[in-house]
Amino acid sequence: MDQGSAAGSGGTFISLSDTEQRCYSGLYALCQPDSSGKPAAGKVAELFRASQLPAETLHQVTEACGAKRLGYFGCGQFYVALKLMAAAQAGLPVRLESIAGELPLPVFVGITNELEMHYPNQPLTNESQSHILGSVAGSAPRPPADRPVLRHPDTSMDKQEAWSPPQSPGISPPRSPSAYRSYPYGAQRNGTDTLLAYDAKVPGRPSIPQENSSPSYYSVKLQPEQPVITRVASVERLVERVEVDYSDDPWRITEEQREYYTNQFRSLQPDLSALIMGTVAKNFFTKSKLPIPELSHIWELSDVDKDGALTFTEFCTAFHLIVARKNGYPLPETLPATLRPGFVEAGVVTAPPSEKILFGSVDLQVTSRPGVTAKQEARDESRKPEFSPKRIPEPHEKPIQHVSTLKPDSPQELDANMKSRTRPRSYSSTSIDDAMKKVEEPPTPPPRPQKTHSRASSLDLNKLFQQSGQGSRPSQHSLSAKSGWLPPPPALPPRPPATQIFSFLPGSEKSSQKAVQQPNFADFSKFREEQESSVRGLSTEDLTPPKSESTVVHQGHAPQKPVRRKLHPESQSATPPSATPYSAATLTKSSQRPPPKQKREIQMAIRKNRETNAVLTRLNSELQQQLKVVHRERVTLESQLELLRPVAST
C-alpha cells in the first residue's frame, strides 16, 4: 500500500495488514508530521491518550517502539507504537514480540477522522528508508529509513523502494529500528543519496504489503530494536555511518564480522581452539577505549565458563559486544541469545532479513543467500586481508543463513540485483571493516587500512566511509551495514595527542607519550600519508611564536637556539591549524571531511609531532646540562666532606 510503511513501522519489520496500514498511515497523517517526517509530539501524545491506555502502558509503548531513544516518533516508531497500542488494548503485554502477529486496529477515542487513508504522502522517512533497503523481495519494505544510506536508489527501485520515496533525505533521523535491521551493512553507504532518490519515488511501489512483513525476521530481533534506536543516534553521529545493523539484529554476528574476529583472534593466539588469557585479552580490549567498567561487564557476559580466559567463541562474543557498544548500543544485562556459544549452530534463517538488508546488507544478503555463500566469501576475501576459510564452518554458514535471514522466498535474483548494486557500495562496508579493525587496534595495523582507503583510518570514520564509498570498492559492499558498527573511536586517539602538543612544556612529555601511543590506534596508513604530507606540511608559516617553545627554550643554549627557531615556525604553523582540525577531528561524528582536509590534518599532526619531538629533545639536553651541574656540585661537596671528616672524627 502506499506508504508501505506498514512494514516499516518501526523497524521491527512488523508486518501490517492492509487495513492496519491504512489506518496507521491515516493516523500518521493525522499527527501532522513535519517536513522531516516527524509527527508532532503534541499530536502523538494526544493520539496516545485517546487510546485510553494507562500511562504506564503508554510509557512502555513509547519505550518499546524506540521513540524514546530517538527522541521523537519517526514513521517507523509511530507505526510500532500504534501496533503496540493495539496489542495493549488486546490485552497483550507491551512487547515487540506481541505485535508480530495480526492484531486488531488500535482504538482511539476521539480520533476518528483522517484515519482513513490519509495515506500519508509525507515521506515516511523512516519507512521509505527502511524499505529501500531492499526488502524487495517481499520483505515488507521495512523502513530502513534510519539508514539514510539505505540503499541505492537503483536497487530500491524495486519494490523495496516502495517505501523509500517518502524518505526524507535526512540521514534518517527517524531511523526506525527496523531501519537498523534492514540495514545490514552497506546500507549506509549511499544512504544519503538514496534517500534523496527515495523521496522522489512514489510510494506506489509494490505494495509493501505487510505480507512481506518480514515480521519474521524482525520480530525476532525485536529486542535488539531498542538498541538499534540508540544506535541510530550513534549512527547519526557517525554520519553516514554505517548503519550497522547488519541484518536486523545487532546482536548477531555476521559473516564478515566473524571473519574479522577470527583474524583478530589469530593475531592474539594462533590456534583457534586455544584460549586467550585474561591479561592478553584485557590489553587487547583496552585498546578499544571503552571504559573499564563496561569492559568488565562485557567480560562477564562473554566469559561463560568463567575460567578467566576466552575461547574463540567467547572472544567473538566479547568483540562483538565491544563493537556494539562502540556503536552506541547499550550493553545488555545478559548475553543475548544470538551471542550465546551455542547459537551459531542455530543458523537463524528466520524471515530473511534480506529484505531489510537488501540494500544495506549487501554483503549480508548476498552472503545470506544460501547459494551465495561463495560470493560472500569472495567478497569477504577481498575485503578482509585474510580470509580464513578455516573458520568454524558452522558458524559461518549459519550466520550467513541467518544474516541473510532472507526470506526463503526472497528471490535470489533480488539478491543478485542487490549484490551487483550493492557491490559498488561495499566500500562502506569495507570501511567498517577497517573501522572495526581500528577499533581493536590489532597488532597488525598495516594490513588493515588498506582495504578501503589509504587515508589515516584513525581519522574520522565518517570520512573513511565516505572515502570508501567514493572509492566504491566493488567487492566490499557487504559490510556497509557493519561499518556502522565501528564508530571511529580509533580515529580519536590520534587527535588528542596532537592537541596536546599545544601545551608544550607542561604537556610535552605527555604529548610525546601520546604521540608515541598514537600509532597504536591510528591507522598506519595514516602515518604513511602523514609522512608524505609532512614534507609538505613542514612549510613554515609565520605565526606567533609558539608558546611552549619559548618556555622550553629557557636556557640560552646557543646550539639550541637555531633549532628552536626552526621549530618555531613549525610549531606555530602546526599548532594553530592543528588545533582546529583536531578539535574537529575529535568529533568523530563530524560530517565527512573531504580528503584534502584529512591530508591537512595529517600534515598538522605530523607537524605537531615534530614539534613535540623537538621540544622534548631540547628538554632532554637542558636536563642533561642540569645533571652535569648537579654532578659537579656533588663532587665538590664530597671533596669538602672528605676534608672535614678527619676534623670531625677527631
Binding site: 573499564i292 567498567p293 562477564e300
Partner: protein, 136 residues
C-alpha cells in the same frame, strides 16, 4: 534485615537490606574484623580447608549476629543478620558464603578487575540480591 560485606580490611562491597542504620553496621563489621583476625591468626595449621574458611558465628550481640568467612587470599566476607531472623540456619549461612565465594572468584577472573577495587560487577550484584531475597 541482612547485610553482606566483602572486605580486605577495608570494604570492597557492602549490601544491606534494609539500608538504614548504615553507620551502626559499619561499626559492627569493623569490630567483627578483629574477631576474624583473631580467629585466623590463631589457626596454626597450614591447611586451610573449607571449614576453616567459614568462621561461623563471630559473636552474637544484642540484636544481631555476625558470621564470618575468609578466603585463602585473606578476603573476608561478613554477613550480619538480626537475631530475630531465626530462620537462617548455619547451613544456609554456609551455602551463602559458598555462593559469595564463587561469585567473588568469577569477579576475580575478570581481567579488568583489579584486586582491591570496589566490586562493581553486575553478576555479583545479582547473586547477592537473590541471596538477600531468600534470606529476608
Amino acid at each position: 534485615f541482612i547485610r553482606f560485606v566483602v572486605l580486605i580490611n577495608y570494604p570492597l562491597y557492602i549490601r544491606s537490606v534494609p539500608t538504614q542504620g548504615e553507620l551502626k553496621f559499619h561499626y559492627t563489621v569493623h569490630t567483627s574484623l578483629d574477631v576474624v583476625e583473631e580467629k585466623i591468626s590463631g589457626v596454626g595449621k597450614a591447611l586451610a580447608d573449607q571449614r576453616e574458611l567459614y568462621l561461623g558465628l563471630l559473636y552474637p550481640t544484642e540484636d544481631y549476629k555476625v558470621y564470618g568467612y575468609v578466603t585463602n587470599s585473606k578476603v573476608k566476607f561478613v554477613i550480619v543478620v538480626d537475631s530475630s531472623n531465626t530462620s537462617l540456619r548455619d547451613n544456609e549461612i554456609r551455602s551463602m558464603f559458598r555462593k559469595l565465594h564463587n561469585s567473588f572468584t568469577d569477579v576475580m577472573c575478570n581481567p579488568f578487575y583489579n584486586p582491591g577495587d570496589p566490586i562493581q560487577s553486575k553478576a555479583f550484584d545479582s547473586i547477592v540480591s537473590t541471596m538477600m531475597v531468600q534470606a529476608c
